[in-house]
């Protein structure tokens, strides 16, 4: 800070405290994103939609757990895996609410140049938003799964061993939820980043997820076994079911994937990677504006 470099000094006190740098900015955006996802720290209006979805999902988990407990495990509406699959429409609705909230809002109000005038890279911004949305989706599904676990744990007859067995069921269910969260978060953020209008972003996200589902239905009735086995690749929802049956070695799920399990795994990975890279490319442009 040589005086020669100062164009105009009107004598304000300089900031001499610690500079927190990129990790702190990342953490701040992440925390703000996660709070914004559930409308925390915002008006009651912003809380209606996220909590409506969260409420329905929680209610389903409670009913499921109660039915299972009342019938001593005779009637199981959903296990930890099919719970995610059954809630898919609500997850779509949730990301359609939250993703535009996270990225479109910043574009519309024109604050991105302010963000990127900090020591913040496009990667940090995207990374923080993505992790925040993935965490929000994980909480949306993971907390109800945990409630189902509690119902199972408190009604078990085998003591600690029963609780442990229930937990061994829950842990892979959480893993599956994590894959759901990562895939849905990356795709919906990418779609939302194309428009600054939250309304259009929400419509686009829902349209994308919904229009892929019938493609699976059509491909799975074509007169070709290979096409039938690969049908699930066409839609994120059935892609995840395919990944599940590949990882668990199950063939009794709704979708028959034949020997193509590994293709499902690769596509899921590539889809997330591609969505994030495209997001990065998009924000590189914005960041250099």
């Amino acid at each position: 800070m040589s005086d020669a470099g100062v164009i105009h000094d009107i004598g304000y006190q300089r900031y001499e405290g610690p500079r927190l740098g990129r990790p702190a900015v990342f953490g701040a955006i992440y925390q703000h994103g996660l709070r914004a996802a559930f409308g925390l720290g915002r008006s009651a209006k912003a809380k209606i939609f996220p909590w409506l979805v969260a409420g329905i999902v929680l209610l389903t988990a409670v009913i499921n757990g109660a039915v299972k407990a009342q019938t001593n495990g005779q009637i199981v509406l959903f296990d930890y895996f099919s719970f995610d699959d059954t809630m898919s429409w609500l997850v779509i609705f949730f990301v359609a609410i939250v993703a535009p909230e996270l990225v479109s809002r910043d574009m519309r109000s024109g604050v991105l140049p302010l963000y990127f005038s900090r020591p913040l890279r496009a990667f940090d911004y995207i990374g923080a938003k993505f992790v925040a949305l993935a965490t929000a989706v994980f909480l949306l599904l993971g907390v109800p799964q945990f409630i189902m676990f509690l119902f199972g744990a408190f009604t078990t007859d085998d003591g600690a061993k029963g609780v442990w067995n229930e937990f061994l069921d829950l842990a892979p269910g959480w893993g599956y939820t994590l894959i759901w969260a990562v895939l849905f978060a990356s795709i919906s953020l990418l779609i939302a980043s194309f428009t600054g209008k939250r309304a259009f972003a929400a419509g686009g996200i829902v349209a994308f997820f919904l229009m892929t589902a019938p493609v699976v239905g059509v491909l799975s009735i074509l007169p070709s076994t290979t096409a039938n086995h690969l049908a699930g690749l066409a839609s994120p929802m059935s892609l995840l079911v395919g990944v599940q049956s590949w990882l668990r070695g199950r063939n009794d799920l709704d979708l028959n994937i034949g020997d193509f399990g590994v293709v499902y795994g690769i596509e899921a990975f590539c889809l997330v990677a591609a969505a994030l890279l495209l997001l990065l490319a998009r924000y590189r442009k914005v960041a250099s504006l």
Partner: protein, 236 residues
């Protein structure tokens, strides 16, 4: 009134975002063509394409994007003030917007549905789908236009209606079907051209009367709301 319609039309179609309306209809026709090319029995694919994609996704989603776009985006931008300050009856503004919205959504969803129906069954089925889609587009547009006046988040409320009410509850709880526009469209189409693909769950009189109630009630209430519309900045 014609100027309002013209401006609305230009706002809707004059930008790049009109391309958003293209993929859904194209997918609908494309899937029908693929199935036809592979000689799959229409009994098998007809329901997935015509009902699962056409009536459950394309018609409501396009009506939603268009119906909330004609008025909602003007409310968002604040340009609604320019129209409201003109010496025009509020009724004319709503009618012009509704005309454009239902016209655009009817064309974009009825044309692909006609081809899908034609490929699946017959010209009669295609035309029945056109009638159903036009009725549906008018009812949906009136509903979504109204939503963009009563709430600041019309798209999310509309999505909740499509996804949760018609999609999730309509499948499990039979009582919700009486208030589901999708079911009216299915019933009307099924009555005009009975095929095995569509299964109307509500009776024809109920479907016609309820569609009318949605269309007229939505319009009248929207006129009423616009009559006492207060311009406010973005909240929440």
């Amino acid at each position: 009134m014609s100027t309002v319609a013209y401006i609305t039309m230009r706002g809707l179609l004059g930008r790049r975002r009109v391309l958003l309306l293209l993929p859904l209809p194209l997918l609908l026709v494309g899937l029908a063509l693929i199935c036809r090319a592979y000689d799959v029995n229409p009994e098998q694919w007809g329901q997935a394409v015509v009902l699962g994609l056409g009536l459950a996704v394309v018609l409501p989603v396009i009506s939603l994007i268009v119906g909330t776009g004609v008025l909602g985006s003007e409310v968002d931008d604040g340009t609604i003030v320019h129209i409201l300050t003109k010496p025009l009856p509020r009724r004319d503004i709503i009618l012009a917007k509704l005309l454009v919205a239902s016209g655009v959504s009817a064309v974009t969803s009825a044309v692909p549905l006609f081809f899908a129906g034609l490929l699946a069954d017959s010209v009669r089925f295609g035309l029945a789908l056109v009638v159903g889609a036009v009725v549906g587009a008018i009812a949906y547009s009136a509903l979504f236009l109204l939503l963009s006046l009563v709430t600041r988040r019309p798209v999310l409320l509309g999505l909740a209606y499509i996804l949760v009410w018609e999609g999730l509850l309509g499948r499990f709880v039979s009582g919700t079907r009486v208030l589901s526009i999708e079911q009216y469209v299915i019933s009307i189409t099924d009555k005009i051209a009975p095929t095995g693909m569509l299964d109307g769950k509500v009776s024809l009189p109920v479907a016609i009367v309820m569609s009318l109630i949605f269309a007229l009630g939505g319009t009248i209430y929207a006129i009423n709301r616009l009559g006492s519309f207060s311009v406010a900045g973005e909240t929440s």
